[in-house]
Every structure is written in C-alpha cells, then in structure tokens.
C-alpha cells in the first residue's frame, strides 16, 4: 500500500486549523502527537454510549466498558508482543510507570547496590531514582554520552558490575532522537544479573518494540506520544518482578480481601491499578495502536526517515546551523541552534508563522550541560508531516534568522 500522506492528513482534524493566520505546521511531535478522528471518535463513543465503571458491575454497560478496557490491554499486549496480558499495567503514563518501578525497588535494593542511568535521560527518568536512592542508599552511576549524542557503550560496559542491580535507558532520546542499542544493553546487563527498564516514550510512535525478543524486564510508554490520549500509558513488567514489588498505591480495585486487621492484595495486573482507572484513555490507546498498525510501522519508519533526511539536508544549507545529536540511528528529531541566536527567539518567531517547535532544554538538562548550551530548537516530524511543510519551515526559519540577526 502506497503511503499517501495527503489522505492520512485527512484523518487529523487539527491539521486543518490556522495559527496566527497561517496553516498550522506541527513539528512538536516529540512532545505529543496529534490525534486521528478514530481515536477522538472512540472517546466520544465511550462517553456517549457506554460510560460506566468497570469490573464487578453486573449491569450491561458496565460489562461493555469492562470488555472495552480489557480489550485495550490485549491490543497493547499484542502490539508489544507480551506473553501474558497480566504483565501489562495501565498507568497514567511513563512518569507514573517509572515511579511505580522506583517505588517497587525501594525495598529490593540497599546501600551497596548501584543503578546505572544514561546521561541522555529525561528528568522524569532521573528524579524518581534519586528519590529512591535517598531512601535505600543505593548509588546512581551515569553512563556518559559521546559527542555524537550516543551512549558511550564502552563506559557502560566498564560501569557494569556485580553491584549493578538496575539499568535505566531510554529507547530513544527525547532531546536528540538517538536510538539506543537497547538489545545489547539488556543482554549485557543480564549477564551481571541486573534488571533493565527501558523508557519507550519517544520510541513508540516510530518503533514497534517486541518485548519478548528484547527480553526486557520493564518497558514503559505513554499513549499520547503515539496518537492516543493524554493521561494513559503502560508499564510492562516481567511477572517475576511485578510479583516481587509491593503495590504502589492503595485503594479500590487493587485488593482481594479487606478487614481492619489485614488486606490481601489482588493479583496482577490489578494490584498496581488502584482506583477507577482511565477507562476512556485505555480505549483511546487501543484505538491509536489499531490506527498505527493499520498504517504499518515499516511504512511509518520509511516515510519519517525520508522526512528526516530531507529536512537535515535543507537545514544544513542555512548558515550557522548546528545540529546536536548525530547518532547513526536516530528518529525524525532535529535538535539545533543557529549561530549565537537563542532558541527562545527562534521559536517565538516561528510560532508567529504558525509553526510549532519546542525550544529550551527539553527536560534533559544533563544533555544540554554536556554540549555546554542553554537549549536548542527541536523540530520533530511525524508521518503526517510533509516535505512542503519542511520547505515552509526552512523558509520561515531563514526569515526568523534575518529578523533576529
């Protein structure tokens, strides 16, 4: 099936709108993706036709809602090729997932243990571990970057030891788009008996991860990065780990029996899903996966790579253009500066032209510190973007530079 971007754009209502008098050019896809009508409709359909609280309801629409919620879990299971759907915890997103694991490991680690975190991480992948280490005394070791924005693999191997209990790496860096060699990271970490958590938030809209093949211990993502709604995400955890971890939050749904003397917890996955979950979010998440799988991840990757190469070549012609992150394997993200201009100025002018990009540190201050810069402009492309938009972006960028210089 040929990849017809104009037809695909019809699926996204927001792409028809104007911003500041210009047609919206949305190049902030790494922050969040736009939503196709199918996802939006599934949300409206839920609230219009079968809104109800799930599990244990004896009435019909509760059963419908429960089925739809559990169907979504199955879709996630199939998409990520997970063995058992009980290993999929529906969370509010990646940050929630990471905190859940960090909480679970608080009592599993002690002061002689070490965890490895890459220098490429998003703040949300650093702070929960610092909080955990304050409690159990474990130590954080940092896997450094190379000048190309890749993980220094040799340093990673040197840092690994019998003390290493956990390794946390993102699948794709949000600031630079670097695709990390997670398969080899996972198998090396396993040689030392360490568990591995991969933050897939930036990867999931570009790469279909096969979690059994990766043999990863934990993998997490947020639906809103892959055309789904905000406030919903998933945590995959191997059963053996999830069973070792205590519940994260107490409440309804996560219990088996409650008396004032003692409560016994529900089995997986409910043990980690206290309270009424984001039912409609899960349904939208499932629909987003259907939508992307229908397009096909091979086609998406092929087209996005074409956009990335096209944009990179065009941008390189602009005097003073400097790109950060030149990893051999990267997603359709270009993080850059122009001469001495501040990213905030460039972003402000581009916005006036109707172009949405992100500016600043991208929640990855350590990455910016590494390059000795205060921030970058980040343009991130999705399969619904076009070469014409990139042309307009480059033209507008040149005008912005002329205005600011």
């Amino acid at each position: 099936m040929a990849f017809d971007v104009n037809k695909i754009r019809e699926d996204f209502p927001i792409l028809k709108r104007k911003v500041n008098g210009y047609p919206l050019v949305y190049f902030d896809n790494a922050a969040t993706s736009q939503k196709p009508s199918k996802v939006i409709d599934s949300i409206v359909d839920y609230y219009s036709n079968y809104n109800s609280n799930i599990h244990r309801g004896v009435h019909s629409i509760s059963q419908e809602a429960t089925d739809a919620y559990e169907d979504a879990r199955k879709k996630i299971q199939e998409h990520f090729n997970v063995k058992d759907s009980n290993e999929i915890i529906l969370t509010s997103g990646t940050t929630h997932s990471i905190n859940l694991v960090a909480n679970g490991f608080t009592n599993l680690l002690s002061k002689d243990d070490e965890i490895l975190i890459s220098e490429l991480e998003h703040h949300s992948n650093i702070v929960p571990w610092q909080m955990m280490c304050e409690k159990n005394g474990a130590k954080i070791k940092v896997i450094p970057l190379t000048s190309k924005g890749e993980l220094n693999y040799d340093s990673f191997l040197n840092l690994l030891s019998k003390k290493t209990k956990l390794v946390f790496v993102n699948h794709v860096s949000n600031a630079l788009g670097t695709i990390n060699p997670i398969k080899s990271i996972i198998s090396k970490a396993h040689e030392f008996g360490a568990a591995v958590l991969i933050d897939g938030a930036q990867a999931s809209s570009h790469i279909k991860a096969d979690l059994q093949e990766l043999n990863v211990d934990f993998y997490t993502t947020s639906a809103h990065k892959l055309c789904g709604p905000t406030g919903i995400g998933m945590l995959f955890g191997k059963k053996e780990w999830l069973n070792k971890m205590p519940p994260y939050q107490g409440g309804g749904e996560m219990i088996s029996e409650v008396t004032f003397e003692k409560t016994t917890y529900a089995g997986l996955p409910h043990k980690f899903e206290a309270g009424t979950p984001n039912i409609v979010g899960a349904i939208g998440f499932g629909m987003a996966l259907d939508y992307l799988n229908n397009l096909g991840f091979d086609s998406i990757e092929f087209y996005e790579t074409e956009l990335l190469n096209y944009a990179t070549n065009k941008l390189k012609e602009i005097p003073g253009f400097k790109m950060y992150g030149e990893a051999k394997h990267k997603t359709s993200v270009i993080s850059f500066n122009i001469g001495e201009l501040h990213s905030y100025d460039i972003g402000t002018i581009l916005d006036k032209f109707g172009i949405a990009v992100r500016t600043g540190q991208h929640c990855a201050q350590p990455v910016m510190d590494y390059f000795g810069i205060s921030g970058t402009v980040r343009a991130s492309f999705s399969f619904y973007n076009t070469k014409e938009e990139i042309d307009y972006f480059c033209k507008s960028l040149e005008r912005a530079v002329a205005m600011l210089s």
Binding site: H342, Y344, T359
Partner: protein, 138 residues
C-alpha cells in the same frame, strides 16, 4: 515625561506598524539598543524566574527615582525588557506602584503576559513593582 506620557508615546510608535513582523522587528531593535546592566550586577540574585532565557533585572535608587537596567540571552526578551524599562525606569517608586499596564495590550504584547508563556514578562513586571514597593518611603 511621566509614566502615562511614555506609555502613550510607545503606543503611538507601535500603532504605525501594519503587522506582527514589523512590531517584532522594532522590538528586536529596541532590544539591541537597551542600555545594558553592569556585568557585576549580572548575578543570580538578579535573575527573573519563569523565563526560558536568562533575564537579569537590577534596580537602584537615584535621588527619588528608580533606575532599572536589564539584560537577557534572548533578543526578544531583551526587547520586551527595553519597552518596560522605558516606561518604568527613572520614575518614582510611587508612580511605578500606581502605573496601570493597559499599554501592553495596546501594543499587541498581551499574548506575552500569560503566566504560562515562558518569557518572564509577567515576572518582570512583578519584580519591577516589588522594587517600587521596597523603595517607596511613603
């Protein structure tokens, strides 16, 4: 000139522009011509929070008037600072406290006033008013 006169003058200047681009070009020019803060005052305690680019603001009393100086890494932020300094610098604390801010809307900068915009305009106005309160003797 008093604050109202300066504000009117700025509103008149901005009214000559036909589109946002001319407005921004003018602001960028103002940013380039701003009288810079003394390097010794570019210290963390003079940093304005809530801005994506670093923005410094320094105040000192000269006779009965407050003199503000500012600088920023970003030229648009510097331009916004230049507009504010033209209005508020070299005025008495009392006049600064009493000044209203309607001119910001009139010159098309209202969008920058939202607290969620990461340009620090709102924080800068707050800081200017705080200084005025602190230096106000009455």
């Amino acid at each position: 000139m008093n604050i109202i006169e300066v504000q009117n003058e700025i509103v008149e200047e901005f009214s000559l522009f036909e589109d946002w681009m001319q407005r921004y070009e003018y602001m960028i020019e103002l940013g380039k011509s701003i009288e810079l803060i003394d390097p010794s005052n570019k210290v963390d305690s003079n940093l304005i929070k809530g801005c994506q680019s670093k923005l410094w603001l320094h105040a000192e009393l000269n006779d009965d008037k407050l003199i503000f100086k500012a600088d920023s890494e970003a030229i648009i932020t510097k331009g916004i600072a230049a507009v504010l300094l033209r209005v508020f610098s070299n005025q008495t604390p009392k006049n600064i406290i009493e000044a209203n801010l309607e001119f910001i809307d009139k010159i098309g900068l209202k969008e920058h006033l939202s607290p969620t915009r990461a340009n620090g305009l709102l924080s800068m106005i707050k800081q200017i008013k705080y200084y005025a309160l602190a230096f106000n003797k009455n």
